[in-house]
């Protein structure tokens, strides 16, 4: 088998050195009843590479890829162009096949890019420090709430009705299992909720999102003050990280913790994973922050270098007293993010973000002309909500047959909620063409009759 280098001669010599006559003797501690006598029968045997490739290609062919048709889906994962260089660098074996940098002398590559990543995340979000990544936005968000509970010594969080449902649901699972309280507001497509009124001296944090799940933009400066007046923290979620190239960052609004989904930069859609959670906060909370962090130091010759640091917060040192149980995080996705953002630079990111917004404005203008359809948002970045004259789910399924991937029905996230059934979430990015918009608009118009 092509990945197994040992020859029969090797095996014989090694068994002789060990002093046993067969490998089976090395499994003597396995209870007899549990020892399989031969490879499991109702599973196939090994295959050549081309057979595996053929089988997997067959499965891939059963999917409609986003690039193969007009595509308008966002809802927490965004289709941006990733330059060819990113993948080529990710495939370098020294990055792809390296481990967590526990031996820093032979891992300065990983450690320097983590330091650069942390810096990029802090600057994008307008915060002081950032960690080396979480699994994704939603798990990072749940960790942020638990961190706020620790910092404030309280255990009730208030959750906006405009927070992406996957983020809310992940917090809800953690709240249920680790026993803290939540006040979850009703879904808020109209942007009318009043969170400041819900903050009191028992609140650990308020969790909000901008652009929110429905695409609306918010300035949370006043809410941040309301939170701080009561000794609570403000947690701001950003699901479309490219938006930070154009919009006032949460740090400038007074956020205490910012959690973002980094997928939109450097990482493709990948059917939902792996993604990369960005986690940024204030320096004074450094010891309560979960996750790995990379820090700057010097080596024995006084040269600048980097190491993982502040490990006493983490599971391998602190065990049951750790800030989080996280170990493996999302290193290679963080690298993809770092490379792509390095290629964009400030000028490129700013331009990319503005292009996205301009495309979305164009899309909103065109969809707004469809009889019976109404763009709900006054503000948005590259995603907004459209109210259709009929339930959106059936329309999206109909469009999919053409195929047109025409947004996500909000009902997919809120089944059984009649008030939301006619809402459609649509997104445009720099990859959206005028032709796509026209095809989508025509089909949507027909479907809405």
């Amino acid at each position: 088998m092509r990945y197994l280098p040992l020859t029969e001669t090797d095996r014989r010599e090694m068994l002789a050195k060990i002093g046993v006559s067969s490998v089976d003797e090395l499994f003597e501690d396995v209870p007899v009843t549990a020892r399989l006598k031969a490879p499991i029968k109702n599973l196939p045997n090994h295959q050549p590479e081309y057979e595996v490739e053929r089988a997997m290609a067959g499965l891939a062919a059963k999917n409609v890829s986003a690039g193969s048709c007009p595509f308008f889906i966002g809802a927490g994962a965004y289709r941006h162009h990733v330059p060819a260089s990113v993948d080529q660098i990710l495939l370098r074996g020294e990055f792809l096949t390296s481990y967590t940098p526990y031996q820093p002398e032979v891992a300065q590559g990983t450690l320097q890019y983590l330091f650069e990543f942390q810096t990029q995340v802090a600057r994008l979000t307008g915060m002081e420090i950032a960690n080396a990544s979480m699994y994704d936005g939603p798990t990072g968000c749940a960790e942020a709430v638990m961190m706020a509970n620790r910092v404030t010594g309280r255990n009730r969080a208030v959750v906006s009705g405009a927070l992406h449902p996957h983020y809310r649901e992940t917090i809800e699972t953690m709240a249920e299992l680790t026993e803290f309280d939540l006040e979850v507001d009703a879904p808020d497509p109209a942007g009318t909720e009043n969170l400041a009124a819900q903050v009191n001296e028992e609140t650990s944090c308020v969790v909000v999102q901008t652009p929110d799940f429905f695409g609306r933009l918010h300035d949370y400066t006043a809410l941040a003050k309301a939170c701080h007046d009561q000794g609570a923290l403000l947690v701001v979620v950003v699901t479309e990280v490219v938006s930070l190239g154009l919009l006032k960052p949460p740090g400038a609004m007074g956020a205490d913790i910012v959690v973002a989904e980094g997928q939109g930069i450097g990482n493709g859609l990948n059917f939902g994973g792996p993604y990369v959670g960005l986690f940024a906060t204030k320096e004074k909370y450094i010891r309560q922050m979960p996750g790995r962090v990379c820090g700057q130091t010097v080596d024995a010759e006084g040269r600048r270098g980097f190491v993982l640091t502040l490990s006493t917060r983490e599971q391998h040192i602190r065990r049951e007293k750790a800030t989080s149980n996280i170990c493996t995080n999302s290193g290679l996705c963080a690298l993809g993010f770092t490379i792509h953002l390095s290629l964009l630079g400030e000028a490129g990111l700013t331009k990319l973000a503005e292009l996205n917004h301009a495309k979305a404005v164009r899309l909103a203008e065109r969809l707004g002309t469809i009889k019976g359809c109404k763009v709900v948002n006054d503000t948005f970045f590259n995603e907004f909500t459209v109210q259709l004259p009929k339930p959106a789910a059936a329309i999206v399924d109909e469009l999919a047959k053409k195929p047109i991937l025409g947004g996500v029905p909000v009902s997919r996230f809120f089944p059984g909620n009649k008030d939301l059934a006619n809402l459609l979430l649509v997104t445009a990015t720099e990859l959206t063409t005028e032709g796509d918009i026209e095809t989508f608009a025509k089909a949507l118009s027909e479907a809405c009759q």
């Binding site: 280098p5 040992l6 050195k17 060990i18 090395l26 209870p31 549990a34 490879p39 599973l43 997997m56 290609a57 062919a61 059963k62 999917n63 409609v64 890829s65 986003a66 690039g67 927490g76 994962a77 080529q88 660098i89 074996g93 096949t97 481990y99 967590t100 940098p101 891992a107 330091f115 915060m127 002081e128 080396a132 939603p138 798990t139 983020y167 699972t173 299992l177 918010h218 007074g254 859609l269 059917f271 994973g273 204030k282 320096e283 962090v293 820090g295 130091t297 040269r303 270098g305 502040l310 599971q315 996280i326 493996t328 690298l335 390095s342 290629l343 000028a347 301009a358 503000t379 399924d397």
Partner: protein
């Protein structure tokens, strides 16, 4: 470019020697306005809908061209060991070869360019991948159910313990303790504590396995679960495991198995036959998905019938004609899901890679994987037990444990030996884990190494041991000598944490002296 940026670049170039190249930070190389990505112009006449939330002030990111970025990261990569570069025998990490077929398959547009929220009729192939991988994992472990969504091993531990907690609640029982061997990986007690359990440690017997009597003494109606790694973190198979399972079940508790060491038994032993109730599998260990410098991983969790209803959302079902994702509790007919633990549906990119790996090996290949992994580790144990000190009698499973007794009175520590090993062209083994022996060296070669590599490693360790015993302490304390950086000051990093670049961007400071990057002001 400013004087500062040019200075940094020139200083770096002066310090470079042959292929040992100094590479400054991104932030020391940027010029504002420059970009490595070409984009069309923004339309001049469109009407923005940003409210008053347009970003003001600089973000503070450098601008580099594509050649600079490619060179920057290529040079950084050259400062790393990977499995591709050298023997990487980290115990419990399973640093096996990462096949490039996996990478090709994961990047097929039909997988990579698929949005998780597309209509399910358009992603049937993706759901089938999840289903096929789930089938393999269930068959290899003998377990009837599997939760696919956890994002890594620790997340899988969380999922498994959450399942146990939910099952206990459904039984109307409140059990507050989780038992964990002293040798457990830190994620075990961290996970249990996160779920509100108190953790009690079980000591080992003189052969490095769980002390069965001590375990039985601690089992009672207040114990929710035992979390056990098997083979354990000392690389030894828990020979009493069937008796352990019986005792745990007799006490009404659940048996969680940490599957980090599954590589030792995959295809040769089914954990279900050992009596476990729930086990996470690290796809980035046993099933070769790349470690990537710290992730991403995936931690699917196989489960017994008793726990099968208590799964996270979402999961894939087949309704006779097509695959479907169950994303809401209201849609769950045969299950009592405890909720969502992550965004979207799971680590799809790791599923395609793991499935390609599994299809490549098949049942006979996986049998050989476990066999060769165990053979390699025992060869190392047999070859080094008279040179170093092994705390436990062999045979071991897929990893060999040594302690630092052989270094007694030499002044040389486990860490010093590891640093000297680096200069010999090897990545060191795991150090100081498990905690149950002093100065642990945990060596896991995996099955993808040649006998020649193992012999070279054995020779190097033998020579270094001799050197240590001869008293050349200073050589060890100053190691490594040949790496891009010598030994790094970890104390200083922790005492004065610097986690981000705080400088200005060179030329930008000259041009836009009054524009501070917009970020939260430092609080005194």
């Amino acid at each position: 470019m400013s004087t500062k940026t040019t200075e940094a670049a020139i200083a770096a170039m002066k310090a470079s020697k042959a292929l040992n190249i100094e590479e400054p930070m991104l932030f020391e190389q940027g010029a504002s306005g420059r970009s490595g990505v070409d984009l069309p112009d923004v339309p001049k006449d469109y009407k923005p809908r940003l409210g008053n939330l347009r970003r003001e002030g600089r973000i503070g990111l450098p601008g580099l061209s594509e050649p600079q970025v490619v060179r920057h990261f290529t040079r950084l990569s050259q400062k790393n060991f990977g499995i591709d570069s050298a023997f990487y025998p980290l115990g419990s990490c399973t640093m096996k070869h990462n096949p490039r077929l996996n990478e090709k398959v994961a990047r097929m547009p039909g997988f990579a360019d698929l949005h998780p929220m597309q209509p399910q009729s358009t992603v049937q192939g993706a759901l089938e991948v999840i289903d096929q991988l789930a089938h393999w994992l269930k068959t290899l472990t003998g377990m009837p159910a599997v939760a696919m969504s956890p994002g890594a091993g620790a997340h899988g531990e969380f999922c498994g313990l959450a399942s146990i907690k939910s099952a206990l609640q459904a039984r109307g029982e409140s059990r507050t303790k989780v038992l964990v061997p002293e040798s457990a990986h830190g994620t075990n007690p961290a996970t249990a504590a996160a779920l509100g359990f108190t953790v009690e440690a079980i000591p080992a017997n003189e052969r490095g396995r769980v002390n069965l009597d001590a375990l039985k003494a601690k089992l009672g109606p207040d114990v929710a679960a035992l979390m056990l790694t098997n083979p354990n973190t000392c690389g030894l198979f828990e020979y009493d495991i069937v008796k352990i399972a019986e005792a745990v079940h007799a006490a009404g508790a659940y048996f969680y198995c940490d599957g980090a060491n599954f590589n030792a038994i995959v295809g040769r032993v089914r954990p279900a036959d050992l009596g476990i109730d729930v086990m996470h599998i690290n796809l980035h260990k046993t099933f070769s998905t790349p470690h990537g410098g710290g992730g991403p991983g995936a931690g699917p969790v196989v489960m017994a019938e008793s726990l099968a209803p208590f799964v996270p959302l979402p999961y894939v079902v087949h309704d006779g004609t097509s695959f479907r994702l169950v994303e809401h509790a209201s849609d769950a007919t045969d299950h009592k899901p405890f909720g969502r633990i992550k965004g979207f549906h799971g680590q799809m990119g790791m599923f395609t890679r793991a499935l390609a790996y599994i299809l490549s090996h098949g049942a006979d290949g996986l049998w050989q994987v476990a066999s060769d992994a165990v053979l390699n580790a025992n060869y190392i144990l047999a070859s080094l037990k008279d040179v170093m000190s092994a705390p436990f009698e062999g045979p071991c499973m897929h990893e060999a444990l040594f302690d630092d007794r052989f270094l007694k009175d030499t002044g040389v520590s486990t860490a010093d030996m590891a640093k000297a090993l680096i200069d010999r062209g090897f990545h060191p083994m795991t150090m100081y884990f498990p905690l149950v022996v002093h100065g642990a060296f945990l060596i896991e070669p995996t099955e993808t190494e040649t006998k020649e590599t193992l012999d070279a490693f054995i020779t190097a360790l033998g020579e270094l041991s001799q050197k240590a015993k001869k008293g050349d302490v200073d050589f060890f304390k100053q190691s490594p000598y040949h790496t891009p950086r010598r030994r790094l000051d970890e104390t200083r990093a922790a005492r004065q944490p610097v986690l981000v670049w705080t400088g200005d961007l060179g030329d930008d400071a000259d041009e836009d002296a009054d524009e501070e990057p917009e970020r939260a002001q430092k609080v005194a």
